[in-house]
Structure formats: C-alpha cells, structure tokens
C-alpha cells in the first residue's frame, strides 16, 4: 500500500512538469504583455519592471528559474498586485473555496446516495421514476443558470436568504446548493445503477435467505459495493466542483481562489495564473490518489498496483 502511494506520488512529477511547461510557454508565447494596460509608462520604468520580474533574461533561463521556484510553490509577486505574492493570494482564498467545495461535495453525497438507494430498492416504482426524472433534470441545469434562478426565488422574492457574499451561515446556503445540485443528481443516478447491479447478486440473496431485515441487507451488505461507482466518480466530481466554483464564486461574489483564475487571466497576471493552475493540478491529483485508496479499501477485490 505505502509503496503504491509513493509510486503514485512519484508519477505526479512528470505530469506536473508537463502542465507547468505547457502553462509557461502558452503564457509566454501569447501576444500581449502584462504591462500592456499601462502603455504610457516611460521606457526606464518599464525596463525596471521587466528586470524586477526577470522578463529581461533569455527565455530558457526564465523557464529554469520558473521550474525551480514552482517546485517550492513560489511564483513570486503577482503582476497585478505587486505588493503581494502569488502564494499569499492563493492561500488567502483557499479556506473559503475549500469550505464551499467541501460542503457541496458533502451535500451531494448525503442527499445523492440515499436518493439512489431509495430508487434502487423500489426499482421501477413511481418513486424510482420520479427520483430519476428529477435527477436527470438536476444534471441538466448548469450551476450558472441555477444560481441566478435560486437568487431570484429565495432572495429577491421570498427574502429568505442573502443573495450574495460569504458572511453569515445563511449566506452559504445558496452557493452550496447551486454548486451541489448537479452532483446530487449524478450521484443519485450512479448509486441507483450500482445498487441495482449488486442487489441481483448471490450474496444479497444469501443475506435475504438468512432472514435479515431488508434495511440491513441494503445498508450493511449491498451498499458497500453498490456505492463503488460513486467513489470512482469522486475524482471527476472534485474536478467539476472546482471548475463550477469559478462560476459560483463570481455569481455570489465569494472571495475564493477560483475567482482569481478568471480575473488573473483577463489581467494577464502571468504569475498568478500559473500559480493557480499548478495549485489546482496538485490538488486534483492528490484527491484522485485518495479516491483510489478509498476504493481499494471498500472493494478488497481491487488490488492497488
């Protein structure tokens, strides 16, 4: 197990290197520089700026320096906010983004899995059809559409919760709901499919034949295997939630990391863009690794190799 984890961690390095290289050259080869907005700055000042960010050196040298610093998660100061380092900006937004994403994922699991189990245990009943139609509708509503609609109904018409920002506990309800809905729906569909497959297997029949109550047949025996498709979906789900958080954070004005990415890209804030991209890449890979370990723990038939 530990050798597996170590090997996976080692395999991340070439992938990260590829992402870092790709990002670096994409950003450097793009037309237009970071100081385009201030066209009127005197050449002397511009030269000084270029020197401060190391942009006057040859590209190869810049690349090597960039890689060395990136390995220490040091991307230097932001272009746009020169007084602050990229690391500072990312770490400042991180707790907020993590909270938003964490709640959304938790909510998706806590609602999606029971919904899927319910649908599977009443296969082909009206409950099943209703739950699955609802789930398909949930999958089909993009979060950036759902967000404004929820604000319209619950904040601007019913005045139940704040329409934006991230302050009181009640201000967290709409963003989390917005981000989580499509994952609730998808997880419900996956759980139902997984459960239906498991419920037809011999060991479930044995459990029933022993006279176990249906609740423990499902809860104790079937669920552990039936939920496997959901576990393997958690990697893509985390990626999707991170991506969705970019939109949700800008809809609700939440000061998280996701919002920085788009702003930084628009501002041509090279250092910040590269920092955020690499940071998310590491996050996703670590998460995928955790998911694989959990998977093998749930299903001993899967060997980590």
């Amino acid at each position: 197990m530990s050798t597996y984890v170590l090997r996976r961690l080692a395999m991340m390095i070439p992938t990260l290197w590829a992402i870092a290289t790709l990002t670096f050259f994409m950003v450097r080869l793009a037309p237009g520089g970071p100081f385009m907005a201030e066209k009127d700055i005197p050449p002397a000042v511009k030269e000084q700026l270029m020197r401060r960010y190391g942009l006057d050196r040859p590209l190869g040298e810049q690349y090597v320096t960039f890689l060395k610093n990136a390995a220490r998660f040091d991307f230097g100061p932001s272009y746009r906010f020169p007084a602050r380092s990229v690391r500072e900006i990312i770490l400042e937004g991180l707790p907020v983004s993590a909270e938003l994403g964490g709640w959304a994922l938790l909510f998706a699991l806590l609602v999606g899995v029971p919904l899927g189990v319910l649908a599977a245990s009443r296969h082909n009943s009206a409950t099943d059809h209703a739950a699955m139609t609802l789930a398909l509708a949930g999958v089909s509503i993009p979060n950036f559409v759902l967000g404004p609609l929820l604000v319209l109904v619950f904040s601007l018409t019913l005045f139940l919760v704040p329409p934006a920002l991230w302050q009181t506990p009640s201000s967290r309800i709409l963003p989390v709901l917005t981000l989580a809905t499509s994952y609730v729906a998808y997880i419900a569909r996956l759980t139902r499919g997984g459960m239906l497959e498991v419920l037809g297997q011999d060991f479930v029949r044995t459990a029933r034949a022993k006279g176990l109550p249906e609740s423990s047949v499902i809860g104790k025996h079937a669920l552990r295997l039936g939920v496997l498709p959901v576990v393997s979906y958690l990697g893509p789900a985390a990626a999707g939630i991170i991506m969705g958080s970019i939109a949700v954070e800008s809809i609700f004005g939440i000061p998280g990391t996701g919002r920085f990415l788009v702003n930084a890209a628009f501002n041509r804030d090279y250092t910040l863009v590269m920092g955020v991209v690499l940071f998310y890449a590491v996050l996703l890979m670590v998460f995928n690794l955790v998911v694989d370990v959990v998977y093998s723990w749930l299903d001993p038939r899967v060997e980590l190799s």
């Binding site: 404004p148 499919g193 991170i242 788009v262 890209a265 955020v276």
Partner: protein, 303 residues
C-alpha cells in the same frame, strides 16, 4: 480459380456486416419508440433546431440586433413574447439566434471529438500491444490535466474566436470517446468477420474503418448524443465567464450571463434563455438515455 472466388467472398462479408446491424437497428427503433420521454425529447429538439436554423427567415420574428430604446426592457407581451432587453431588442429573437450559435457549437464540437476520438480509439485498439499501451497512457495523462484551465488560458491569451472555441471544446471531449471505441474494437477484433477480412488480404485501415468502426456505431451514437449537451454546457460556461462567444453575437451562455447581471430588475432576461438552455440539455440527456436503453440494453449501468 482463386481469382474467381474472391469477389464472391467479399460480397458475402459485406452482406454479413450489412444484415446484422439492420436487425439491431430495427430492434432498437422499436424499443426507442416505446420510450415516450425520449421521443418527446427528440421532437422538442427537432422543432427547436428547425426554429433556430430558420430564424433568419421566420416571418414576424424581429431582427435580433434591432435596437429600440423606447422599448427598453419591457416585460413579455403580445408583441414581444419573451419581452425585450435594455436596448429594446426582442428577446425571443435573441434566444433563437443564440440557439443557432449554441447548437452549432454543440454539433461541431461533438463532430470534432467524434473524428478524433473514433480514429484514435480504433487505431489504438486494433494495433494493440505496445502502441496501444503508449496511446492509452497519453489519454490517461491528458485525463489528469485540469483541462478547463488550459482551455481558459488558450481562449484568453490567443483569440476568442469561434474557431478557437470549437478546437478547444473538441480537444476536451474526445478522450472518453476514444476509450469507448477502443474497448469496443478490442472485443470486436477477435471476431470471425475480422478474421475473414484479414484472410481476404484487406489492409489494416480498411479493416478498421470499413468493417470494425461501423460495428461500434451503437455506443458511439449514444455517447455522441450525450456529448452534444456536454459541449453546449461548456460553451455556455465559457461564455458565462466572458470567454466564449463575443458580442454582438450571442449564445445562450452570454444571454444568461447578461441577464444575471440585471436579475433583480428584469428577471425575464435570465428566465427565458435559462429555460431554453436547460430544456435543451435535458432533452439531449433524455434522448441519450433512451438511445442507450434501445441500442445497448445490457449497458444500463448508471441508471
């Protein structure tokens, strides 16, 4: 003698390939017809696509760019069914014209992913061995890249043109298609009709593209139907962030984005484009589900 036999064998092989799928298709059609939700979805999509396609020639439909400040942001009425926006443009017309862009992006993005994914998966699966290993390893690595960020970078730093959008979206979507096709090809290539084709001396590419690929059509159609809404969604997401379709052109994504900014004042500006987008995605998903049940009854994994 062998020269006389060969053409006969070829037609036999062709007959075999041609007749088996027909039965499959007829069977699938029968199953699909019984699925009322899928049929309703298909009809909805047909009508919507037709309306979007014919938008420039629909009688009575206002010019989507025509501004009339006297009609600034009027709620839905008999003259303007969906109301008007702040510049007095007819929203129904804007939604239909936006649908042209969104659907076009969806179909072309899917086509790009289809061409790349099917060729890549088929070649990888048929070649097998070391080539297959390497090709699938590349797919694995690409899977683990946080793609959307690269797409955002591509669009921001290079150009926000429609062509770039097609390329970026197609590039994101082909990976799963490649995996599906590869899996199909792996199981098909050991079957006797492939052996027969090989015995006839057909070239590798002819075997793959003329004989194997047509037999993977079922899963490919199902997945393509599910790719269209995924691409539409991605485009809408990018447009929502201001990176997709650029004004004065509009897609459903930009309309939702613009509408969301004046949500409190003119709610209809977000409601109608949002409904158009969501209903379209829902219909595609219903149709895709129905097609999967019809074409591949054993593969009902995720419900």
């Amino acid at each position: 003698m062998s020269a006389a036999l060969q053409p006969l064998r070829v037609t036999e092989a062709a007959d075999f390939v041609a007749t088996v799928p027909t039965g499959l298709w007829r069977d699938a059609w029968k199953r699909l017809r019984r699925n009322r939700a899928a049929i309703a979805a298909a009809m909805f999509l047909g009508v919507l696509s037709l309306a979007a396609l014919l938008a420039p020639w629909l009688p009575g439909l206002a010019d989507p760019a025509l501004q009339d400040l006297k009609l600034s942001a009027t709620p839905p009425s008999a003259a303007h069914w969906f109301g008007t926006d702040e510049l007095g443009r007819d929203l129904l017309s804007r939604v239909l014209w936006g649908g042209r862009v969104s659907l076009l992006v969806g179909f072309i993005g899917t086509l790009v992913s289809l061409v790349i994914g099917v060729s890549y998966g088929a070649i990888s699966g048929y070649a097998g061995g070391r080539t297959d290993d390497v090709m699938m390893r590349v797919v694995d690595v690409l899977y683990s890249l946080p793609y959307i960020f690269l797409v955002i970078l591509l669009l921001v730093f290079f150009s926000k043109s429609l062509v770039m959008l097609f390329v970026a979206l197609g590039l994101v979507q082909w990976l799963t298609m490649a995996r599906i096709v590869r899996g199909q090809v792996l199981s098909l290539k050991s079957q006797t009709f492939v052996e027969a084709a090989r015995a006839l001396g057909l070239s590798g590419s002819a075997i793959v593209f003329r004989h194997i690929v047509p037999n993977t059509l079922g899963p490919v159609i199902v997945y393509a139907t599910l790719t269209v809404p995924a691409v539409i969604l991605q485009e809408a997401f990018l447009s929502f962030l201001g990176l997709g379709v650029q004004p004065p052109a509009a897609s459903w994504g930009t309309l939702v984005s613009d509408g969301a900014k004046v949500l409190a004042l003119f709610p209809w500006l977000v409601i109608f484009p949002a409904a158009a987008l969501s209903l379209t995605l829902l219909a595609f998903n219903f149709l895709g589900d129905g097609l999967r049940d019809a074409l591949d009854p054993r593969q009902r994994r995720d419900g």
